[in-house]
Amino acid sequence: MSHDHLETHDGDYSHHVVPISKLITTFILLIVLMAATVFASTWHLGDAWYFSVFANLLALGIAVTKALLVISYFMGAKWASNLSKMFIIGGFGWFTTMYFMFLDYGTRQWEPIKGWERDASTALPRFKDLDENPEAQDVGQQPASP
């Protein structure tokens, strides 16, 4: 098999040798993004909830960018066959879809259920006896187990 043949794109099944220069660029970008996410984690913009959401989205956005770089260039998904791409998109797409269940967690307090008002974010009615135990707000404030 000659080297020239390896670089042709004559069909869906032919593979591609990723040039070393592209691999080096990917590696440098990954290190820069890692430094960026460490730097961004030192910011404290304010105590409001939306700053926390922003900081989390920023950290995850950088992580997703790094993941896309690894998948596209190191794993060669950019040059993969359509069948491989179907599996790649299917796998990570499923992972993303799973997180839609936070639509449920996030909206529970909008439609509180009687008895669960003080602990809306949990699915379990942990303090049905709130009248007897008014101090308890969530499991985190219970006395520690030994």
């Binding site: 080297h3 099944y13 040798v17 890692m34 984690s41 190191f74 796998g91 974010s121």
Partner: protein, 224 residues
């Protein structure tokens, strides 16, 4: 090229089994198979990531407090080591495709060395947790008054479950890459003149890197 490849007898490099049109289709079915396996790995880790997310959602301020117990510098060092190992693995695949055996072996060796380096750093971190009694269980000890011990224990349970499972994958990676390097060095018929074994093991190793890319910000860099 395809009609030439078909004439190569089975067992020789570049041989095509009869169910395939040509060598490209055969190679692609290997890659697809590996990705199918990696999809199951996404589901495996996905359950843990979801569990983490739910408790982080519920206990964000506490998780922020507890995460200071982890040293972000060691986490960043491990991220660098793992990214470097992924880079050298990608180079190994490149040299395997170019049938440059010596360079391929050097890259595989670098990858294994980086993987060992990763485990050494992880060992340093875990032994510190052991000394501070931060391993979840009956001996778990927590003195920080601002965080309930149960929530601190929850954080460390997630930390050990997720980095532990990831660590198991690193150990498996070391074994698989070492076996591959030995086979390549001995010109074994399974790997001689065929880049596909290196490509598939490379995909696995990059996936291990991918998991860490998410573990690092989720455990070491929790924002306030």
């Amino acid at each position: 090229m395809a009609h030439v490849a078909k004439k190569i007898p089975l067992g020789e490099p570049g041989a095509v089994f009869e169910q395939y049109e040509d060598i490209h289709q055969q190679n692609d079915s290997y890659v697809v198979g590996m990705w199918a396996f990696l999809v199951t790995e996404v589901m495996f880790f996905g359950a843990l990531f979801l569990m983490y997310s739910i408790y982080r959602w519920k206990y964000q301020p506490y998780f922020w407090e507890v995460h200071h117990e982890l040293d972000w510098r060691l986490g960043a060092l491990n991220t660098t080591i793992l990214l470097a190992s992924s880079f050298s693995m990608a180079l190994a695949v490149h040299f395997a495709q170019r049938t440059q055996k010596t360079k391929q072996l050097m890259c595989l060796g670098t990858t294994v060395l980086c993987a060992f380096g990763f485990l050494v750093v992880k060992g340093i971190e875990w032994s510190a947790k052991w000394e501070h009694h931060h391993i979840p269980g009956p001996n778990f000890h927590w003195t920080e008054a601002t965080v309930p011990p149960n929530v601190a224990q929850l954080f460390f349970s997630l930390y050990f479950a997720m980095t532990g499972l990831h660590g198991v994958h690193v150990v498996v990676g070391i074994i698989v890459i070492s076996v591959l390097a030995i086979l390549v060095a001995k010109d074994n018929v399974m790997v001689k003149g065929d880049y596909i074994p290196t490509e598939l093991i490379g995909l696995y190793w990059h996936f291990v890197d991918l998991v860490w890319i998410f573990l690092f910000p989720l455990f070491y860099l929790i924002p306030r």
